[in-house]
């Protein structure tokens, strides 16, 4: 699947047409190691040198290539966003597994799609680019990936329900920008905050209804 989605070019302030696709390969993972990781590490070192430890990205040494064996597992779905011939964002979903069950009391026990990993290219993140004295390049990548997760949930008959564990510094994105409900801290996953969409919240996010 390849489809055109608009993202924002922060330099012009205008929408541009990127490509959202699901045929993610190990070459894309290698690209994240070669293109993203050095910038993330450089920004992390700058932040550490300034004593801004609370801003150091909590995913600074993730390695997507470790997920290569998971590409062949049908339970997993991967999505990427590409623009100007560069990977701008990557996401891994689980359509079945230990976290694919709702915990919000009003939908407890029902199936959801689990957002296992999301990463946006470092040059698109304000916090990292500020550390390097630069401006972030593109916007709305994260929203497009979460949009893909909700649409996939509908395709899987999960009614748009998604769930995820948020890193502490990203909680506000999922609550404010995606309209997800924080449910509680999960001791089974490093006490990270568990958030969910109900079908109504999912539709609201997709349509932008207030």
């Amino acid at each position: 699947m390849k489809t055109r989605v608009h993202i924002i070019d922060n330099i012009s302030g205008k929408p541009v047409e990127a490509e959202l696709f699901d045929e993610v390969t190990v070459e894309h993972f290698i690209e994240t190691q070669q293109e993203w990781r050095p910038i993330v590490l450089k920004a992390a070192r700058q932040l550490a040198a300034r004593g801004s430890h609370q801003l150091i990205p909590q995913h600074f040494h993730w390695d997507w290539t470790a997920k290569a064996p998971e590409l062949k597992v049908l339970a997993n779905a991967f999505y990427g966003v590409r623009y100007e011939n560069k990977l701008q964002g990557l996401m891994k979903l689980e359509t079945v597994g230990q976290f694919c069950t709702c915990r919000l009391p009003e939908q407890a026990g029902k199936a959801l799609i689990y957002v296992d990993y999301v990463e946006v290219a470092p040059w698109n993140l304000k916090a990292l680019m500020s550390a390097l004295g630069e401006k972030p390049r593109y916007n709305v990548i994260g929203s497009r990936l979460i949009e893909a997760a909700v649409l996939r949930s509908k395709e899987e008959d999960c009614k748009g329900r998604i769930g995820l564990h948020s890193l502490p510094m990203t909680e506000s994105f999922y609550i404010k920008a995606c309209g997800m409900t924080p449910v509680g801290r999960d001791p089974a996953k490093q006490n990270l905050l568990w958030l969910e969409h109900t079908p109504e919240q999912a539709d609201k996010f997709l349509t932008g209804a207030r």
Binding site: M1, T3, H6, I8, P15, L20, V26, E27, F29, I30, Q33, P57, Q58, H59, F60, H61, W62, D63, T65, A66, K67, A68, P69, L71, G89, V115, D116, Y117, V118, E119, V120, L125, K126, A127, N139, V140, I141, G142, S143, R144, E147, A148, L151, R152, E155, L164, S166, L167, M169, T170, S172, F173, K176, A177, K189, Q190, L192, L206, T207, G208
Partner: protein, 156 residues
């Protein structure tokens, strides 16, 4: 999948996402994990170089002839052989994989481009590297080791 194309939605999401950090995934693991990964990567890399070397000798090729057969730069093949910190390009590794008829993703791990997730894979790499010695003629044991290892890479 039908994505939202409303410019107002895009503008609103841009404003909401602007100052946010976007990622999902576990918290970073300890620094010690990174060091352990480095050691395992060295062992895999040795197996990769042995695999290249034995394959070239199996086909009775010089490095120059081998680079032509593979359609890769001779300079790069020499870097791979001599510099254990050198990371080959994905294109080169894919060409080698096609020549050997093994899945490229297996060689991405061996060459250090991708991270291994699998203890069995790493142990097999170590055993293969240990069985291959740098002598001129391919001994029957090395021939067997090479044959078995290529079979292993194809089967998993």
């Amino acid at each position: 999948m039908k994505f939202n194309s409303d410019p107002e939605w895009l503008k609103r999401q841009a404003a909401l996402e602007d100052n946010c950090f976007v990622s999902v995934g576990g918290l970073v693991s300890a620094v010690e994990d990174l060091e352990e990964q480095t050691q395992r990567a060295t062992a895999s890399r040795t197996a990769f170089v042995s695999l290249l070397n034995l394959t070239r000798r199996e086909h009775k090729l010089t490095w120059e002839q081998f680079s032509q057969k593979l359609d890769v730069d001779l300079a790069e093949l020499i870097e791979i052989e001599n510099d254990e910190t050198y990371k080959p390009t994905p294109r080169t590794v894919t060409k080698i994989a096609h020549f050997l008829h093994v899945p490229p993703e297996k060689l991405f791990v061996l060459s250090g481009l991708a991270r291994a997730h699998d203890r069995q894979f790493q142990e097999a790499a170590l055993r293969f590297a240990a069985r291959s010695q740098p002598v001129k003629a391919l001994s029957s044991e090395e021939h067997e080791a090479l044959k078995e290892y290529v079979k292993f890479l194809c089967e998993r």
